[in-house]
């Protein structure tokens, strides 16, 4: 009878000790929404960090993208959730305004870290002068063309129109250029070329400007006068036309690369310079994913250290080469494996004329009215001036409802 009792006692003690040490060992929890190659790359990076920092455990959790933002909004302010999470900058403003979600990390960030990033990356993580995260990777649109149809990609809008006209046969459904031009995100590249903005630096809405109107007129010229683009564009339309060889050039982002059929030999180039806008280049918006330290993390310094590792050159090479991400660490683009990669190189070149999409919470209120305005103009139901004025008023009304005085 004594033996089993002793075994139970020993086992119990061991179990207790085990539980105790488990509670002691720091385990960092990372949330992300990656799948496939991106997921295995981030998991590999987590393993690398564990090897580098003995005694630290990193648990990565992939969350379906549709549920991701809501899951963070619901869990982090209530003291639950991860230590570090990865998300694009578009939700950052909202999370900061509602509070208790994202920990400011500017205090931790040394100068070397600040300088390691590509230009503009840290701006996307900065909200009203405070740094809230470490930028990890960026996405923007660029010019993607069918090599069978286009020998040398156009550098200017004049060249673009000339080339596209020669490739357009509307009767047989062939067009020189296609992009989702009614979608405000895609249109922003033109708007930025003209110097149009959505918000000024104080957060005032300045959508209704002559620059924005001029950019819409430019788009309408391509669509109506030059007739080089198909009607009613959408993501699926653009990709199916490109794959069927019915469109020679598209403006699209890295997510599009995976959709291109293997039969199409494609090339990438920087978006053209707009001659009508005083030879200014098209400047697409950058969507930048950052690693944020959760405001309810119990080990914020360790969490920051891990986030810093994700943004480091070492991790950046893995994420870029294996995860096919455009990492924000400037050093990796000096590596031969990255600089010889056609896709990574092309998007990196586009970065020289691109700018971060606003990270203000008010930005969500812009999409729907702005896209409505674009549709109205394209369908000829309103002039660019009237449409933008109306959209701007609608957005301003929503913003006023949100920014109520106390």
């Amino acid at each position: 009878m004594k033996q089993p009792l002793r075994i139970i006692l020993v086992a119990g003690t061991l179990l207790m000790a085990g539980l105790f040490t488990a509670a002691q060992a720091a385990e960092l929890v990372l949330w992300h929404a990656y799948r496939g190659a991106e997921k295995s790359a981030i998991e590999k990076v987590a393993k690398m960090y564990e090897a580098k920092m003995p005694g630290t455990k990193v648990a990565t959790l992939a969350i379906p993208y549709d549920a991701y933002a809501d899951k963070i909004t619901a869990s982090v302010p209530r003291g639950k959730g991860p230590d570090v999470f990865i998300y694009a900058q578009d939700r950052l403003g909202g999370w900061i305004e509602s509070g208790k979600t994202v920990e400011p990390v500017g205090f931790f960030m040394d100068e070397a870290t600040q300088k390691q990033f590509l230009p503009g990356m840290l701006d996307a993580m900065t909200y009203k002068g405070t740094v809230y995260g470490l930028p990890l990777n960026y996405k923007s649109i660029t010019l993607i063309y069918n090599k069978a149809l286009v020998k040398t990609p156009p550098r200017t809008s004049t060249e673009l129109v000339k080339l596209a006209k020669s490739l357009t046969h509307a009767d047989s459904g062939r067009y020189g250029l296609a992009y989702w031009y009614t979608n405000f995100y895609f249109h922003a590249a033109l708007m930025n070329a003209y110097g149009g903005r959505v918000f000024d630096k104080d957060g005032k809405l300045v959508l209704n400007s002559k620059e924005t109107v001029a950019s819409i007129k430019q788009m309408m010229k391509w669509y109506k006068q030059d007739g080089i683009m198909p009607t009613e564009p959408s993501e699926t339309l653009v990709s199916s036309m490109f794959n069927e060889g019915k469109v020679a050039m598209v403006f699209n982002g890295p997510w599009f690369i995976g959709e291109i059929s293997p039969s199409v030999d494609f090339g990438l180039a920087v978006l053209p310079v707009i001659d009508e806008a005083g030879k200014k280049p098209m400047r697409p918006w950058l969507t930048i994913e950052g690693a944020y330290v959760s405001a309810s993390s119990k080990q914020k310094e360790a969490a920051y250290d891990f986030a810093k590792f994700l943004a480091s050159e070492e991790a950046g090479l893995v994420l870029a080469l294996e995860g096919r991400q455009l990492h924000t660490n400037a050093a990796i683009y000096k590596d031969a494996r990255v600089s010889n990669d056609v896709v990574l190189k092309a998007f990196h070149e586009q970065l020289s004329s691109a700018e971060p999409m606003p990270n203000r919470a008010e930005m969500t209120m812009v999409w729907s009215p702005a896209t409505t305005a674009m549709n109205k103009v394209v369908k000829g139901n309103a002039t660019p001036e009237a449409a933008i004025k109306e959209a701007s008023k609608a957005v301003q009304d929503s913003i006023n409802a949100l920014r109520k005085g106390r």
């Binding site: 920990e103 205090f107 002068g129 405070t130 729907s368 409505t372 109205k376 949100l402 109520k404």
Partner: protein, 639 residues
């Protein structure tokens, strides 16, 4: 026990329980208000000191700043410590161990973050020209300590934060009168015991008398409580005025800040958490009558609706008793105790999963919660009926311009109209198509009936997301199959999502496609249950096909059809997927229905409370509809 005795007991019980409920709720309300006033008073006196110190060091150099801060801390024992932070620097500190000035240490990150938070708040208020962010942050520490943090300005510009730790004594208060509650409860019981209720009459004088007496007692109690709160507030104002004067004289004596004996000047020391002068105490230390009256009126205006809701609730409880509902409910409960036990798990589930979110939504509708202020305490966000007034009171449905009428598609009534037209047309289409197909399938001797039936039910079996996206693709102006077919017949292609009507048709077609199988199945089932001999008898009597349909089929379908229609109306009214995925409310939100609109308000414009009020209005509409539908279905039960 006969009914009179029963009622007699009910009257006393009702008065007692109603009054107890009222007393508990009102005194809890008064008590929490009083506690709140106490906290506010402590915070106010700390803010007063902090504001004063910030003003006193606004235009001094680093050495003088440190000296002034130290002297003030030594002279005022309630100030335990003061720290000034600028960027990553600790400029001054009254704690010797801090050894200011120096760099912030790693563990002092919260201070750095707080300084950024307050800077942002200040910039936001100035930049947006709307004051919505608190620039004074107050944290409560144990043992009556308060930590006040506010912007430290230098030469009128933001330079950092000043943080003060206070030990503020709790203000002495006159204690509440417990005996009055007991007295009122006794009086209520007495009234209940003395009254003779008449069970037969609906409006018997005794019942009215009970209600009147009850309300009178309630109002008396609440009036007393309100007056007490007012007295407390007035005392508090005077206490603050005295503190202000003492401090101002001290600063004046030291030559830090001149005391301006000017009644008209704003008092910049006594501010709210947004650093706006309260306007209650003048710069010379006197109490401004208008400011105080406004403060009292504001508090009373806040309390009144809450107290009235308590009155209403308690009166309802009383009425439940004196009309005997409570007694009946109790008897039923006793009799079917085991039945209640069986349903208890389900009830608990419903409570957690349905009633809690539901009541949370309704409560939210009475606030002005948005993304930007959701972290504020609940009572600060409470606004009453404002959202409902904005939704229902906005009659800006159309505008008259030179070009004619322009409909305002964002208006609630437009959306309501679209929703009603949407519901009616959809149900009509569903029922008509379903009925015709059911009649066809019900043909005797039809070959391959099973195959047809499966094929016709298929649209229902496919997830409606997929159907909606497929239909959306079919309506594409250039590549969609519908326009291709139109062009084949030499017609002009239609830009389906451009026009209000054509866009509506896209939704109608999709939902019609989705809804006819259900109707068909229901009608088919009902048709097969109609006895054949009825038709045979009618045929023998020489009834025509139409007469057979009109006088046999339709009346016998009615009991099945009406519940199906009623259900289908509710589904269609809230058919989110189809509108959201097919037309997306295009053009310009004209084809939005109420639910999709509520979704957009909540998740595109982040006006959570407004969206909650919108949903509550949708619920009320369906509730009214549900009320009438039960009457209609009751009418059909006689078949």
């Amino acid at each position: 026990m006969n009914i009179t005795e029963h009622l007699q007991r009910s009257a006393a019980l009702g008065m007692g329980i109603g009054m107890l409920l009222l007393l508990v709720l009102s005194s809890w309300m008064f008590r929490s208000e009083e506690l709140d006033l106490g906290v506010q008073q402590r915070e106010r006196s700390a803010v007063l000191q902090a504001n004063a110190l910030v003003l006193a060091v606004a235009d001094t150099d680093a050495v003088a700043t440190g000296a002034r801060v130290r002297l003030m801390q030594q002279q005022n024992p309630q100030i335990e410590s003061v720290v000034i932070i600028a960027g990553t620097q600790m400029l001054a500190s009254t704690r010797a161990e801090d050894a200011a000035p120096r760099q912030l240490r790693r563990e002092e990150k919260p201070l750095y973050d707080l300084s950024n938070l307050i800077r942002t708040a200040r910039e936001t208020n100035l930049g947006e020209e709307v004051v919505r962010k608190k620039t004074i942050q107050i944290d409560e520490l144990p043992k009556g300590r308060l930590v006040v943090t506010l912007p430290y300005l230098s030469g009128g510009e933001y330079a950092g934060i000043l943080q003060m730790q206070f030990l503020v004594a709790k203000a002495a208060r006159e204690s509440g009168s417990g005996y009055m509650s007991v007295l009122l409860l006794f009086a209520a019981l007495l009234v209940g015991a003395l009254l003779r209720l008449n069970a037969e009459k609906r409006f018997d004088p005794a019942k009215l008398l009970a209600l009147a007496a009850f309300l009178l007692l309630a109002l008396f109690y609440q009036q007393q409580g309100q007056e007490r709160l007012e007295r407390v507030m007035m005392q508090d104002n005077r206490a603050i005025a005295a503190q202000y004067l003492a401090a101002a004289e001290q600063y004046d004596r030291l030559g830090y800040l001149p005391l301006r004996r000017d009644v008209a000047a704003a008092n910049l020391w006594d501010t709210d958490h947004y650093q706006r002068p309260r306007g209650i105490i003048a710069a010379d230390g006197s109490v401004v009558a208008e400011g105080e009256a406004k403060q009292l009126a504001q508090r009373a205006g806040f309390m009144r609706p809450i107290l009235w809701s308590i009155d209403l609730l308690a009166a309802c409880v009383l009425l439940l008793f004196i009309y005997g509902y409570a007694a009946r409910a109790y008897a039923a409960f006793r009799k079917h105790l085991d039945a209640y036990l069986y349903v208890a798990p389900a009830m608990i589930g419903m409570l957690v999963l349905v009633f809690f979110p539901f009541s949370y939504g309704i409560t939210l509708a009475f606030t002005d919660t948005t993304l930007f202020n959701e972290s504020l305490p609940f009572l600060d966000r409470l606004i009453g009926w404002g959202n409902f007034r904005t939704i229902l009171g906005d009659f800006n449905i159309y505008q008259e311009t030179a070009d004619g009428f322009i409909w305002n598609y964002q208006n609630f009534y437009w959306t309501l109209m679209v929703t009603i037209i949407w519901t009616v047309t959809n149900v009509t289409v569903g029922v008509t198509v379903g009925f015709m197909l059911a009649m066809a399938l019900n043909t005797e001797g039809l070959r391959g009936k099973a195959i047809y039936r499966v094929l016709l039910i298929l649209p229902w079996a496919i997830p409606n997301y997929i159907t909606a996206l497929v239909w959306r693709g079919m309506f594409h102006p250039q590549f969609g199959v519908i326009n291709q077919v139109l062009q084949m017949f030499g017609m002009e292609p239609v830009s389906w999502f451009d026009g209000v009507f054509s866009s509506f048709i896209t939704g109608l077609a999709t939902n019609g496609w989705l809804s006819f199988p259900f109707m068909m199945v229901v009608i088919l089932g009902a048709l097969q249950s109609i006895p054949k001999d009825m038709y045979e008898a009618a045929e023998v009597e020489g009834a025509s096909r139409w007469q057979r349909l009109r006088y046999i089929t339709l009346p016998l379908l009615k009991p099945t059809l009406i519940p199906a229609i009623v259900l289908s109306v509710v589904w269609t009214f809230n058919m989110f997927n189809i509108i959201f995925l097919v037309s997306g409310g295009e053009p310009a939100g004209a084809n939005e229905i109420l639910v999709t609109k509520a979704y957009k308000i909540a998740f595109e414009q982040y006006q959570y409370a407004y969206a909650a009020a919108y949903s509550t209005v949708i619920f009320m509409i369906l509730l009214v509809y549900g009320f009438f539908q039960t009457r209609i279905t009751k009418a059909t039960e006689s078949f």
